[in-house]
Structure formats: C-alpha cells, structure tokens
Symmetry: C2
Subunit: 135 residues, 2 copies
C-alpha cells in the first residue's frame, strides 16, 4: 500500500497511538489501514475411498493437483464458501459433514480451512480454474 | 475504497474480466482490489466450572462482557492469535485444548473462531481493551 484508499494521499508505515504494530497511516485524513490474513476455504470431496482433485488452470502451481478451494468472499458463510468453490472449480455438489482442518500459513498471510465433504452424486467437471478434475 | 492504494488514482466498482463479483478496479494501473472477511480469534478461558470474561473498554458494545478475542494479525497462526488476545485483554495465560467454534457473521464480513482454553494459573487482570476482567 502506497496511497490512502480513502483520500488518495500518500500513506506512511508507522505505529499508531495505542497500537503496537506498524500500520499504513494516512496523515491527511487520519485513516489507519489494517491488513489481515485472508481465508482460503475448500473441502475434501469424497466418493467411497476416493477423493476428487482439481488440476490447477491458474498460477501459482499451474498444472498441479489440488483440492477445490478459494478465497472466502464478503457476505457468505464459511460453509457457503466451501460449497461455492467446489461447484466453481470441480462442478461438483457435496454435503459438508464436518470441519477437517484449520491451518494457518503465516508467511503468506492466509488461513486454510477444509471440510470433509462426501459427493452428493457422481457428477463433476472442469470449472473455470481447473484444466482437469478427477476422482 | 475510493482511491487506488497502489497509484492513488480514483477506483471504480465493476466486475473484472473473468470474475463474477464487483471489485474496486483501478483503470490507471489495472490493479484489482479485493475485500475479504476478517478473522476474530479468541478463547473460552475456563477455571473449574467458571469462565473468564472481559468487560469492554472500547466501542462497539462499551461496558458489555465478552470473551477475550480480537483481529488476527498477519504473520501469526490462529492459535498464536488466541493466546495473544487472551494475554492482551485479560492478562491471562491459557492452554488451547481444541477448537470450540467457527462462526461466520456475513453481514459484518467477519469469521469468529474460539478455542476451549483452561487457565494455566489463577492470574488475570485488566488488559488495554478491558475495564474489568472476572471469573
């Protein structure tokens, strides 16, 4: 961040009064801009003893296999994010049966959360971010 | 958001190519600014059959009792955030024994996560954001 998103003036990185961490602060309009970790929400789509995986169509890790997951959006629940990402990336519908893992990745400022999720039916396909989807 | 935090030019709210949600987009430098939910991390500090609560010294809900919790910072794990907030707000040290709840609050763009957390010792006090702390 180099400019204030509220007023457009340059920001400076400094510790605001009453805080103990450096923040991007706008001296022109006094806005303090906080940066916080983002959530990546997904699931483990299961069918009998197999797991549905997506082959990434986007960077980073283009071409590698991964679970369906993506950034949680404003206005949705964690469960809605998992269902949406699974539908978008694997064209699959699942039932969420419980949280499998909550895993922070501090150096990239992310928290990954995955549900266990049996497939509701044996239907899936390539979503926008996948070049292949296979059980 | 009214101005691009990268170049300072005004931003417009529109759906970028390949996306399906409106984002703040800078036409000057082509940056797409994403806004995502923030995480509020805390714990339920237990001592025998009692729970340690903090009385808020800050808005919103000044003066009401709450569990120790606060915004997760970049560079920390979820567990570190819970321990830090408990120390900051209740001057208490706890052991995290498991996740109690993961609760999205979509209309305020937040996800609250709370651990079960027995107190390590019977010591606590008012932190910076608390006017009282009691078992």
């Amino acid at each position: 961040m180099r400019f204030c998103s509220n007023c457009g003036a340059p920001v400076a990185l400094k510790i605001p009064p009453g805080d103990n961490l450096p923040r991007h602060v706008c001296d022109a309009c006094s806005t303090v801009h906080y940066s916080n970790p983002k959530m990546v929400i997904g699931c483990i789509p299961e069918w009998r003893d197999r797991v549905l995986l997506c082959r990434r169509a986007i960077e980073p890790r283009y071409g590698l296999w991964t679970l369906p997951a993506g950034f949680m959006e404003n206005g949705e629940t964690v469960a809605q994010a998992a269902l949406r990402e699974t539908l978008e990336e694997a064209r699959a519908r699942v039932e969420l049966t419980g949280m499998f893992s909550v895993l922070a990745v501090p150096h990239v400022k992310k928290v990954h959360m995955f549900y266990r999720a049996p497939l509701i039916e044996l239907e899936f396909g390539n979503g926008a971010d996948s070049i292949d989807v296979q059980l």
